[in-house]
Subunit: 230 residues, 2 copies
């Protein structure tokens, strides 16, 4: 199964362990400060993400100021309440009770943005799929999340806040899009299972893995037919 | 620097090695078949990506059929020519000469999609940021890319093709968006440096890492001011 380009077993294990044991962290942050070395490591990991046309369109804003966190938390609360009323009435109270962010209690908040004009209007690979620079920046988020897991640092992605609110708080130029607002810090533990709130996972973590085979028989796959494994 | 939740050094090294040594592969694919075990491993890695509200909105279409690859390649060629004329005239011939995809010569092509209706219209965390399911699927792409690197499998992302063309070829339902079309296979080698075409990397791989500090002094960061390191 292995080849000359594959990693030794223990390194491979690290990669899969980070992938399988990464969690979205909203609580259990500790007061232990994140060292500059670890912060630099995980930002370097983010920075080595693939980027369309080597555009590297990301910026990383490291937020430690409690007043700024409070502003963001106020924005979260508004969006959270706007969100609650979108759910069926009988679910709204449950939704409101969920712990969905760790903005104020995590030592570091991190805003990851995408500067859409970083290398000019025409970029190799972003010609007919103009959203590719946004996707590159999401790859940077995932790199950071996995590196953080290896370092024992919890990361949570706060998506319940209006982008315009973050643009206002951080005075972002118009060409800069918000991709992710993250909460980072040491944690007491990583949950064994993802925290799903009202949706229960089937088996360990994975519900049905949907793989659609499109092989030699020329059969068209159906977009919603689930296959279990290979 | 380490804590109880961090990985042992060799596993950590594996994570950073995958991140730093991952490349976008457009050439040097070999004829060696990708085993079902490896394919399953890297698809499982993709499936363990974070997903908003545990939506797991992705589907994976595994393409081995040469005729289907030819259809996709035809779609690439059209988008590639449409792209060429977007560049300044003196760059167009250079652009046309670049090798930007390995559709026909890679043993496996993989279409990764996002089913926007997977778990109904209202999803926790996708209320005021409706694009979060697309971003979750991008995280799945990056997980797969890193796991593939650990397995010694090259992966290239073909973004020079119209989404509508892929939707037509694969008869995708309207609610299913295309996120990535990938080419996968064993390779003779991984390039030391990213292949940047006309843009040269500064230093190893990283140009300036843009970290904007937003700390206790309350100073507003400027959206384009580059900082080097912490």
């Amino acid at each position: 199964m292995s080849n000359n380009n594959s990693f030794p077993d223990e390194q491979k294990k690290g990669v899969y362990r980070a992938i399988m044991k990464r969690r979205d962290i909203r609580a259990q942050f500790t007061d232990a400060p994140v060292s500059d070395k670890i912060l630099n490591n995980i930002l370097q990991a983010a920075h080595h993400a693939p980027s369309v046309g080597f555009m590297q369109p990301w910026n990383f804003l490291v937020i430690r100021d409690q007043k700024t966190k409070e502003q963001v938390y106020t924005g979260f609360k508004k969006a959270h309440e706007d969100s609650a009323v979108m759910f069926a009435e009988e679910k709204q109270d449950t939704y409101r009770a969920f712990k969905l962010e760790g903005i104020r209690e995590s030592p570091i908040n991190l805003l990851i943005t995408c500067d859409r004009q970083r290398t000019g209007p025409v970029v190799i690979g972003r010609t007919v799929q103009p959203e590719m620079d946004l996707f590159s920046t999401v790859c940077a988020v995932q790199n950071l999340w996995l590196a953080a897991r290896a370092e024992g640092i919890g990361v949570g992605w706060v998506s319940i806040i209006y982008e315009q609110e973050l643009q206002r708080i951080f005075s972002l130029p118009e060409s800069v899009r918000v991709i992710a607002y993250l909460c980072l810090g040491h944690v007491t533990h990583f949950p064994q299972q993802p925290e799903l709130n009202w949706k229960k996972p089937v088996g360990c973590h994975a519900s049905t893995l949907r793989i659609l085979f499109f092989m030699k028989n020329g059969e068209k796959p159906c977009g919603s037919r689930p296959f279990t494994v290979l």
